[in-house]
């Protein structure tokens, strides 16, 4: 029994980082219908930027994190402005390939600049500080990740639902011609979503970095986050978070009871299942075009 509860708790904990990455991807997908495969590496470079500030420049923790968030936003804005916007006659497939290209460049850059070995991130909370409730262990970092994921989800949800800018973002995704006609600067909206998304990704990166810190650290969370986003229906913010937790829990239970070797594969088996049964995702409410 204790084992089961412990596994579920661990599942929720890993689910939180998937949720953050999934959220970041969904934000960009919501406005441009492009799954951004560079998301993980954008978070990666932000985390290494934070490490650089902390270790090489000796800036104290909170200002360093603040600067990192600013850096993340600027990075997202820059990538959209300098690379994606330059695409002539863009189609979704072309854009996806561009994001994969960006991903490789960023990954290569980080490996070249910082080296591929494991680093330690001077994070205020160590990876082994834990709470013990009864017989259940929860690390403080995991609790922080959980809080961050839920908080960001709620803020973003309210933002998309009630703010004028959020509404304009939705409008841009649904019909960019009509959005221009009502006076929305669609280019600027896209740029902003990249900034916000990059920020959310950077939060995920920072929270993962105390446990693992090398150029491939975001690989797994990014793919799982993408899996969660697909499961959640790609456009629904609460959907992606719930799906991320489901993935985390199922993955852990599978690892505990069935086979630890195939633990990471489960997520993708689940995606295949979901796509077969409900291709629009579990939580998407989609208007189907009448032809």
């Amino acid at each position: 029994m204790i084992d089961l509860i412990q596994m579920i708790v661990n599942g929720i904990a890993v689910g939180s980082s998937y949720a953050l990455m999934g959220l970041a991807m969904v934000i960009i997908y919501k406005t441009s219908e492009v799954p951004n495969f560079a998301q993980g590496e954008m978070a990666l470079i932000s985390s290494f930027f934070a490490m650089m500030l902390l270790t090489s420049f000796n800036i104290s923790v909170y200002p360093a994190f603040f600067l990192t968030f600013v850096f993340a936003v600027l990075l997202g804005v820059f990538l959209e402005f300098a690379i994606l916007r330059r695409a002539k006659e863009p189609n979704v497939l072309g854009m996806i390939v561009i994001t994969i290209g960006i991903e490789m460049v960023l990954l290569g850059f980080v490996s070249w600049k910082f080296g591929a070995e494991q680093k330690t991130m001077p994070f205020p909370i160590g990876p082994y500080d834990s709470f013990i409730i009864g017989d259940i262990f929860i690390s403080k970092l995991e609790v922080l990740t959980l809080v961050a994921a839920l908080l960001l989800m709620s803020v973003l949800y309210l933002f998309f639902k009630y703010s004028k800018l959020g509404l304009a973002m939705k409008a841009t995704q649904q019909n960019s011609v009509a959005a221009q006609i009502v006076g929305i600067r669609t280019n600027r909206i896209l740029m902003m979503t990249w900034g916000i998304s990059s920020l959310v990704g950077a939060v995920a990166g920072l929270l993962i970095s105390p446990t693992i810190m090398h150029p491939f650290m975001m690989w797994d969370p990014m793919l799982k986050g993408f899996a969660a986003a697909v499961m959640g229906g790609m456009t629904s913010l609460p959907g992606v978070v719930i799906a991320a937790y489901m993935l985390g829990i199922i993955e852990n239970l599978f690892g505990g009871y069935v086979s630890i070797e195939f633990k990471t594969v489960v997520a993708f088996a689940i995606i295949v299942l979901v796509l077969c049964i409900k291709p629009s995702g579990l939580f998407a409410r989609h208007y189907v075009k009448k032809v």
């Binding site: 004028k164 939705k170 959005a179 221009q180 006609i181 009502v182 006076g183 600067r185 989609h286 208007y287």
Partner: protein
């Protein structure tokens, strides 16, 4: 009345098609101007050129709004100058509600009380929309979507309202209703530029009519004169002339040949 919109000699390429071949016209302040023509003569292209929807076009020529050149500007900048545009085929946001549409229509405005007032005004013009306030636009019928598109354009409080075939795909009763509302909007001071295939309807509400053929204007005049014109009657209003004993020689009267 001064000219609100002035188009001078524009030439537009639509991809590789030389669509507008030197068109000039002016829209007088407070008037309803109608552009008529058959399929594919470039009516919609003229409007898209004015709205800056076609990249790098017009190739040649000048478009002035209130005396200020607006060609080669971005669409959103043109919209901010007070030109609202209802595109062909409605172009609504499928997954936004009616209310959200109207808010988006007022995207460039910053006066909450005025926006509220205008939403009420739109509901007064189109009472059907009021019952559908919280419904997704994608679930509305074609006519309702057209009303929504017009309502959204009105939320801008435009000086000039450009309508691209508001009658497209609507039942005759609905067409009548929409045209009477267009007239009402005009009577409250909004200048209107209208593109239509339904020549009869368009000429009956407009003050000036222009006839476009193959990217050039071939006729221009007061709408009531055009309604009486022999050629317009035959080619656009569908009133047949009698065939002569010699046989009917249509090419002699077809506008493009003159």
């Amino acid at each position: 009345m001064p000219d609100l919109l002035e188009v001078k000699n524009i030439e537009t390429y639509y991809d590789l098609v030389y669509a507008i071949r030197g068109a000039s016209f002016a829209v007088k302040e407070g008037s309803i101007t109608a552009i008529l023509g058959n399929n594919g003569v470039g009516k919609s292209t003229i409007l898209k050129t004015i709205m800056g929807q076609i990249e790098d076009q017009p190739d040649k020529g000048i478009i002035e709004f209130e005396g200020v050149p607006i060609h080669h500007k971005d669409t959103d900048e043109i919209v901010r100058k007070g030109i609202a545009y209802v595109p062909e085929g409605r172009e609504v946001f499928e997954e936004l509600t009616v209310h959200e549409h109207l808010l988006m229509g007022a995207y460039t405005r910053k006066d909450p009380s005025g926006i509220k007032q205008d939403i009420e005004q739109v509901f007064q013009y189109f009472p059907v929309l009021k019952n559908r306030t919280n419904q997704w636009a994608g679930t509305l019928s074609g006519g309702e979507q057209q009303m929504l598109a017009i309502g959204r354009a009105l939320m801008l409080r435009p000086t000039l309202l450009i309508l691209d075939e508001p009658s497209l795909g609507l039942s005759p009763i609905l067409v009548k209703e929409i045209f009477s509302i267009i007239q009402e909007i005009n009577s409250k001071g909004t200048t209107i530029l209208l593109v239509e295939q339904n020549a009869n309807m368009a000429l009956s509400i407009s003050s000036t009519g222009l006839i476009l053929e193959n990217g050039r204007f071939v006729m221009k005049g007061k709408s009531k004169d055009l309604l009486e014109d022999k050629d317009v009657k035959e080619f656009y209003l569908g009133i047949k002339s009698e065939t002569s004993a010699k046989g009917y020689q249509r090419w002699k009267r077809k506008k493009a040949w003159r």
